[in-house]
């Protein structure tokens, strides 16, 4: 019967094309608005590393100004989101975390042996080798550098697949030399392109791609490579050299650790507290001890990756959908009551209320799905417009299959909800009422 109902739906749609077009448009506009805002929200709010987001922790230690908290906002006070070089290096000596890495964002001018490839600046991440294992990065060729490279600041680099394609035509480049800002590095490995959305480990440019180059932290520091991230200082200090900067109280390094068990978590927190106590005895960390281990999702929430504006927008778009659906209810009522005589004939010929209900719901579903498809087109246009307005939103304005499925499911659900009352009404009509008999 379903195919029969589908055919009847098609005939009914053909009978009232304008009314049907209005309903499809109403649902389409509502679904389009919802899908646009939901896509942005969904990509902003989703877990960027679901397999281990609950064991990865952003490490915060409070080295900040004794007179004023680094953060004092609607979520209370908090220690600095980054840490000083001296603290980062000290924390890296712990063997408690399964993996850990201090890191910062930099950039290098990449010069290829191939004269046809012009030198270009590529983003880089200075990190420890734990960075790869901690974030489950997949190697296409080679692997991460060894512990000695971290310790000694060796001139090794891991590049991503995209850069490997550009520079080495995608071939195995392990062992090949690469000149970065005038210094020759050896390629240790090639990783798969990895662009978590949002880029949770460094929210400065949270929707941008990960770096093309990853170099040992010590190497980048030794080369005094650029710091392409935030630097915050609270203490007046004479900083006349990079060495002065490294020894300053300025915070600029992000620190992540993988702690797989509650025991490991507790032990590491003890370690941090012990470290803070030690620093206090050395005249630093004048604030009350307030060390934090914040897992990925809490970190994204704390940093308000999804702004309240986005949440409000999603709410408004759903309200708009409700308005569109109310219009659809009216249009459906007009359509179904207009066709009540046909329903009366079918009832007279033996159609039960349930059969008529199903027939009309299938029609509503067809209209809803058509509205959903129109909504997807409108959402694609809406997201394109958002991309045009906000360059950083490129990655969070892509319709993926889950959102397409959600939009179609939502349109079906919404249209059926809108169609329930008109369908019920038409099914309650006494069959004799619309049969012209005399």
């Amino acid at each position: 019967m379903f195919t029969y109902y589908l055919r009847l739906a098609w005939l009914s749609i053909r009978r009232n094309p304008i009314l049907t077009a209005l309903m499809v448009a109403a649902i389409g506009v509502g679904i389009g608005a919802c899908t646009t805002t939901l896509t942005v929200y969904y990509l902003m709010a989703r877990d960027p590393i679901p397999e281990k987001s609950d064991v990865l922790y952003r490490v915060l230690v409070d080295s900040w100004d004794p007179a004023e908290a680094y953060y004092d906002g609607d979520q209370g006070t908090a220690p600095p989101f980054m840490m000083t070089h001296q603290d980062a290096v000290a924390l890296m000596r712990s063997d408690i975390p399964t993996h850990q890495s201090a890191m910062y964002r930099s950039a290098f001018v990449v010069e290829s042996d191939n004269p046809e490839i012009a030198p270009d600046t590529y983003s880089a991440r200075a990190a420890y080798r734990g960075f790869f294992d901690m974030f489950d990065m997949e190697f296409v060729f080679g692997g991460s550098w060894d512990a000695a490279a971290d310790e000694n600041g060796e001139l090794v680099v891991v590049i991503n697949r995209a850069l490997n394609e550009d520079l080495f035509d995608g071939k195995d480049s392990v062992g090949r030399e690469l000149k970065l800002s005038g210094t020759v590095f050896r390629v240790a490995g090639v990783v798969e392109n990895w662009n978590p959305i949002p880029r949770f480990y460094d929210l400065n440019g949270k929707f941008r791609d990960s770096a093309s180059l990853i170099v040992p932290f010590r190497t980048a520091v030794n080369l005094e490579s650029d710091i392409n991230g935030s630097v915050s200082c609270w203490k007046p200090e004479d900083i006349n050299s990079f060495a002065d900067f490294l020894n300053s109280e300025c915070v600029w390094i992000k620190f992540w650790a993988q702690l797989d068990s509650p025991e490991q978590h507790a032990a590491y927190m003890d370690f941090l507290n012990g470290y803070s106590q030690e620093q206090k005895s050395l005249g630093r960390f004048a604030r009350p001890i307030d060390n934090r281990l914040i897992d990925v999702m809490d970190w994204l929430k704390f940093r308000k990756v999804v702004s309240e504006d986005n949440v409000v927008l999603v709410g408004l778009s759903f309200l708009f959908l409700v308005v569109c659906l109310l219009n659809t209810v009216g249009l459906l009522l007009a359509k179904f009551i207009g066709g009540a005589s046909l329903a009366g004939i079918r009832r007279a010929l033996g159609a039960s209320r349930a059969a008529l209900f199903k027939q009309h719901l299938v029609e509503v579903g067809v209209i809803g799905l058509s509205g959903g498809l129109l909504g997807l087109v409108l959402a694609a246009l809406g997201l394109k417009a958002v991309r045009g307005w906000f360059e950083d939103f490129e990655k969070i304005t892509q319709l993926d299959w889950s959102m397409i499925g959600l939009a179609l499911g939502l349109s079906l659900l919404a249209s059926v909800a809108a169609g329930l009352y008109p369908t019920w009404r038409v099914c309650r009509i006494a069959p004799a009422r619309y049969l012209k008999t005399q």
């Binding site: 009832r347 033996g350 209320r353 349930a354 059969a355 008999t437 005399q438």
Partner: protein
């Protein structure tokens, strides 16, 4: 053939309970049926103390002026409307307490309707219009096709399967409606002014078809205000102000009897 035609003619009429003797199978039996339409201010008695029986195989004409209650009777008899009080047995089943689904099922399986204004579905072609009641019986496609083709052949529209109702004359549309009623092989056909929208030639053709159907054993109850049409039924019942006021046993048309005798 003539015997088949004559069989209903000899049904005796019970003078007390308008209908037939209890030895005959009663297809439709209404006793003290009434229908009252109520609004806040007005109470309208569309049927009052309506007593009416129809034997299986009968062809009964229900006549009466406009507003007399003929259509209300037909709607109640066809389970298109409920009634306020009384008893109604259809094919031996008390239908007064049936659920809406059960009434739909009976309409679908036992009753065929033929309306004055045909009531075809304009978007569906002839084949699909006849298919409508069969769809609700969950029959196989082959069985539906067989019944539809046979019904259309019976009414002489086998070659018009793909025509839309708008492409047919009034008489042809009514024949489609008859085919639709026949396809379900109903035990009872209710016809409401089946020739009301037709010219005399087409009306005669439609009546011929109905008579042919009745000859094969299907009970027909026809509402009409045309005395000429009513005369072709086995029995006439006159309705006035929602009640039966007169009934007439069948009086064969002398010309028709002569014709039948001649053919025999």
């Amino acid at each position: 053939m003539s015997f088949v035609l004559l069989k209903p003619f000899v049904l005796p009429i019970d003078p007390v309970r308008i209908g037939i003797t209890k030895e005959e199978y009663t297809m439709l039996q209404m006793e003290h049926v009434s229908k009252v339409y109520r609004t806040d201010l007005v109470e309208t008695h569309a049927l009052r103390d309506f007593n009416f029986n129809v034997a299986e195989g009968e062809f009964v004409a229900v006549t009466g002026p406009s507003g007399s209650g003929k259509t209300t009777f037909l709607n109640i008899a066809g389970l298109l409307e409920t009634f306020s009080s009384g008893t109604y047995l259809l094919d031996g089943e008390d239908v007064s307490q049936l659920s809406d689904d059960a009434r739909s099922r009976i309409r679908n399986q036992k009753i065929g309707f033929i309306f004055q204004s045909f009531n075809l579905i304009p978007d569906l072609d002839v084949f699909d219009n006849v298919d409508v009641p069969l769809r609700y019986r969950k029959m196989s496609g082959d069985e539906r096709k067989r019944r539809i083709n046979r019904a259309l052949e019976m009414v002489g529209l086998g070659a018009r399967r793909k025509h839309l109702p708008s492409q047919l004359s009034g008489g042809q549309q009514q024949r489609v409606a008859i085919a639709r009623a026949l396809a379900g092989e109903p035990r009872l056909i209710f016809a409401d002014e089946p020739t009301g929208n037709l010219d005399s030639l087409m009306a005669r053709q439609v009546l011929d078809i109905l008579e042919g159907i009745n000859e094969k054993g299907t009970t027909i109850v026809m509402v009409t205000h045309d005395p000429e049409l009513a005369r072709r039924a086995h029995r006439n019942v006159h309705v006035l102000d929602g009640a039966i006021t007169d009934f007439k046993p069948y009086e064969p048309d002398p010309e028709r009897v002569d014709a039948l005798a001649a053919s025999a």
